[in-house]
């Protein structure tokens, strides 16, 4: 059952990711990315991350991607024009990327012992564990993030003013 769910959602994630890159219209790309995020949330659940799966949906799919879609709809950006001069770029980049993929996959497969299996339910991280870690070990980074967000809000407001 674990394996079945993994294959199903891994396939959806990869399919949506490829669709993201291939679609010419930004809205289609954005919705493909939402698909990737949703299936990744299910994979997080399989890995025992209940809290992080919910946060993935709330923050990534529910807030960040809505912002993207909002901007795309606001700009009413149409489909991308036909690529004129990035055929050369594609010819160079794609083989390099596939090499990178192959090397990465080879390294991962050779370094991690294949006997270790991911068993659903053997490790569960709920809200309590995350909260305890955030407010003890990681208190300083947590507070620093709040300042980062404050700066981001200020930056967004300054950029969105009419005068610029």
């Amino acid at each position: 059952m674990d394996a079945l769910l993994f294959f199903l959602f891994a396939a959806i994630a990869v399919g949506c990711a490829i669709n993201l890159v291939l679609q010419t219209h930004p809205i289609s790309s954005a919705l493909s990315l939402v698909g990737v995020m949703g299936s990744l949330a299910v994979l997080y659940l399989l890995l025992g991350g209940e809290f992080i799966a919910a946060v993935q949906l709330i923050v990534y799919a529910g807030a960040i991607m809505v912002l993207f879609i909002f901007v795309i709809m606001l700009l009413n950006a149409g489909a991308e024009k036909k690529p004129t001069r990035n055929i050369l770029r594609a010819a160079v980049a794609l083989p390099l990327l596939f090499t990178l993929l192959a090397i990465g996959a080879f390294l991962v497969a050779s370094q991690t012992p294949s006997t270790d299996v991911v068993k659903f339910g053997s490790f569960l991280v709920g809200g309590h564990e995350i909260g305890r870690a955030l407010f003890t070990t990681y208190l300083l980074p947590f507070e620093a993030t709040s300042i980062l967000i404050l700066i981001a809000i200020l930056g967004a407001i300054v950029l969105a003013r009419k005068e610029i």
Binding site: M1, D2, A3, L4, F6, F7, A10, L20, V21, P26, S29, L33, V36, L40, L43, Y44, L47, G48, G49, I52, V55, V59, Y60, I64, L67, F68, V71, L74, L75, E80, P83, N86, R89, L97, L100, L101, G104, A105, A109, T112, S114, V118, K119, F120, F123, V125, E129, I130, A133, T137, T145, L148, I149, A152, I153, G155, A156, L159, A160, I164
Partner: protein, 110 residues
């Protein structure tokens, strides 16, 4: 639990999660290099961040420690901040130059 009709391993090795993450990262990188719409480029960056998050969670499961979850939590928060500022920049660029093509935004002044 009834037996599944097809012969599948009941559980997946950890490396498969990591390979999935590699695939997603490379697809994101490919999109980043090939696409010209600035919003799509931005979304490809988000895809790469998601791929990295998956490795954090997978290793966290392997080591039975909570830290990976915290890291990916921070990645999400930073991604949210990044999206807010980045999209504001995109809006401003579009307002001033009425284009979303990355290649056309190549000069410092109009």
């Amino acid at each position: 639990m009834p037996e599944l009709p097809i012969a599948l391993p009941a559980h997946v090795p950890l490396s498969w999660y990591l390979i999935l993450s590699v695939i997603l990262f490379v697809v994101g990188a490919a999109g980043f290099l090939l696409r010209r719409n600035i919003i799509t480029v931005f979304m490809c960056i988000e895809l790469m961040l998601n791929a990295v998050n998956l490795t954090f969670i997978a290793f966290s499961h392997q080591l039975k420690q909570v830290d990976g979850h915290i890291y990916s939590f921070f990645v999400m928060v930073v991604a949210a901040a990044e999206a807010a500022v980045g999209l504001a920049i995109i809006l401003t660029v579009f307002k001033n130059r009425s284009t979303l093509e990355v290649d056309e935004v190549s000069s410092m002044k109009l």
